[in-house]
């Protein structure tokens, strides 16, 4: 509700034709006070900055802050677990995006009677359940190994690669892909359904094939949503605990599990290392949050500069990533 226009003088949409829109009476607040934002902002600040800053303060208050800070950049345990987490997060989030886009396109073409809503199942399952599936299906004596044996592809269970509790993080990646693909489908399907169907039929009439239609109509329209989905999926697999705790390797922990172990299972001398790891996880998270914020703030400029999406898509960016907004809708 902008204060520039007098509420009593506003024009009506055809749906309200004939209705009288009363001015805000004296005594009733014209707009809710900005103080109302306080509880939400306070909670968000605690989550976003609380832990990271507190860990940083703990690091600086330790006996040798200088040594603690160099540890931030050079400790081999810290670096190894962090690098491993980034790799696992990158692989699982990119795979989820690819699979999710493919599945969303396929589900989109299914007839209405198709039980497409089943795709939400992995979203309802907790992460520990995704870990359970990975262990039960992909361990060496698991279902997948049995299937390959029956097909004659492997001769014994030793022929099946170590995929769970392994040092390459395959088990963790598989579990994340299971959870995140469903998440990508959720966002992507909503974005595809928002596309004006005339755009697609026009492209078809102009002779665009399936691939051409995808790259010149669907991708530009949904690219912004996908970028957001990727950031969320990446940060999730980068920092979450449950899945690497259950399916990860004991000798090569991911950053979240390593931080937990250093914190609770290590000696007091390990404490600065745990804090250093937390600070670094936090800093990487902040980096992605800043990218996320920039994309929300300046979508057209940023995306145009990156030359990823055309102008039409970036115009739609706001509506794809923000909830419906009363005031913005009314301004039109």
């Amino acid at each position: 509700m902008s204060s520039a226009t007098d509420p009593g003088m506003r024009r009506y949409s055809p749906a309200d034709a004939g209705a009288f829109r009363p001015p805000v009476p004296p005594g009733l607040r014209r707009e809710p006070s900005l103080w109302g934002l306080l509880p939400g902002i306070a909670a968000a600040l605690v989550v976003v900055f609380g832990g990271g800053l507190y860990a940083l303060a703990g690091l600086l208050n330790s006996e040798a802050p200088q040594a603690a800070l160099t540890m931030l950049l050079s400790d081999p345990v810290v670096r190894a677990s962090l690098g491993f987490s980034v790799r696992v997060a990158a692989i699982s989030s990119i795979s989820s995006i690819l699979l999710g886009v493919m599945l969303a396109l396929w589900l989109w073409k299914q007839p209405p009677a198709f039980p497409g809503y089943l795709y939400t199942l992995p979203l309802i399952f907790p992460h520990v359940v995704a870990a359970f599936f990975v262990i039960a299906w992909f361990s060496r004596s698991g279902l997948m190994s049995g299937l390959l044996y029956q097909l004659g592809i492997i001769q014994s269970l030793d022929g099946f690669p170590v995929l769970v509790f392994d040092n390459n993080g395959f088990g963790v990646i598989l579990a994340y892909i299971y959870k995140e693909t469903a998440f990508v489908v959720l966002l992507m399907l909503a974005a595809i359904r928002k596309i004006d169907s005339r755009l697609i039929s026009t492209a078809r009439m102009l002779g665009a094939g399936r691939t051409k239609r995808f790259f010149s109509v669907i991708l530009p329209e949904t690219g912004a949503t996908l970028a957001v989905a990727w950031i969320i999926a990446f940060l999730y697999s980068f920092g979450a605990f449950d899945i690497p705790f259950l399916t990860g390797s004991a000798s090569r922990p991911m950053a979240s599990v390593a931080a937990y172990r250093l914190f609770f299972e290590g000696t007091l001398a390990d404490r600065p290392r745990a804090l250093a790891l937390l600070v670094l996880i936090w800093l990487i998270t902040m980096l992605f949050l800043i990218i996320f914020a920039l994309m929300q703030q300046f979508p057209p400029r940023l995306l145009r500069r990156l030359n990823l999406f055309d102008g039409y898509a970036s115009k739609r960016f706001a509506s794809a990533t923000r909830p419906a907004d009363d005031s913005e809708r009314k301004r039109k």
Partner: protein
């Protein structure tokens, strides 16, 4: 493409349910066999024998998740109203900030603040667990409420005011009935997020607050897959039952107030 998608759909979404159903009743299922060699009701017997602790952990999980929903309502009700009702400088930055808690790994803020929480006496407590869960999931509630507020014309409030309603009366007779569907859809997501969380409960609850996922994880780690499968299926039942209960309560509420669930309201409930 098409075939891969079909296989993926089955592998991701149909097969898990089927597997859980079979695994739950499987007896001997030794290595290369693709189907169990014998069937047993052992998992069911276990659940019946341990119904006490299972129900207690389910009850505890449900209780702290519902509390987390209430706390997240406190964090998001007023902000959602402001965001839906007015424009101000830096609004989109505020919106991004209010969305950010969903993106920050639980390890960072929970483990980072853990020493502080110990000192403040927040940890090892039911309330502490609910608070931390609410902190990490309240943006879901906020978005749902913001959409809800945006769909209610300001004129309703003004009309109520002109008719003499004040303060709490405006809330209970204008906002509450209209906001209920949005509120419940936000509550469902927050509840699910809290209910399925393992790490935060186990960290903040310190083993003193029992949880269903905390009950399940040792069984998964011990590779007791029949019992795990049965427990996972029970886990799926809780949100389904709550959902059915909610739908029923909602429709009764609207009937009693003589309000049909309009197209728009019904649509929001279902989505």
């Amino acid at each position: 493409m098409k075939h891969i998608s079909r296989v993926l759909f089955i592998a991701f979404f149909l097969f898990p349910l089927l597997y859980l159903g079979i695994r739950m009743f499987a007896g001997i299922w030794s290595y290369p066999a693709l189907l169990p060699e014998s069937w047993t009701g052992r998992a069911l017997a276990y659940i019946l024998a341990n119904r006490g602790p299972i129900l207690r952990s389910l009850g505890s999980s449900t209780a702290y998740s519902l509390t987390a929903v209430l706390i997240s309502l406190f964090f998001s009700y007023a902000p959602a109203r402001v965001l839906a009702r007015r424009n101000f400088a830096g609004k989109s930055l505020v919106q991004t900030l209010l969305l950010a808690p969903l993106l920050v790994p639980a390890v960072v803020y929970a483990l980072g603040l853990f020493p502080l929480m110990l000192r403040l006496g927040i940890s090892d407590r039911f309330g502490g667990v609910a608070l931390i869960l609410a902190l990490s999931a309240f943006p879901y509630m906020l978005r749902a409420l913001q959409t809800g507020f945006a769909s209610i014309p300001r004129e309703y409030e003004i009309s109520a005011y002109m008719l003499g309603a004040r303060g709490i009366r405006i809330f209970s007779s204008v906002y509450l009935p209209q906001m209920l569907p949005a509120l419940l859809s936000g509550a469902t997501v927050v509840f699910l997020a809290a209910f399925s969380e393992y790490f935060l409960v186990f960290l903040i609850g310190g083993g003193l607050v029992s949880s269903y996922s905390g009950y399940l994880v040792p069984l998964i780690r011990a590779s007791d897959w029949s019992i795990s499968s049965a427990l996972i299926l029970i886990f799926l039942l809780v949100p389904l039952m709550l959902y059915a209960l909610m739908e029923r309560l909602l429709s009764r509420y609207y009937r009693r107030r003589g309000m049909g669930m309009g197209e728009q309201l019904g649509g929001q409930v279902r989505s």
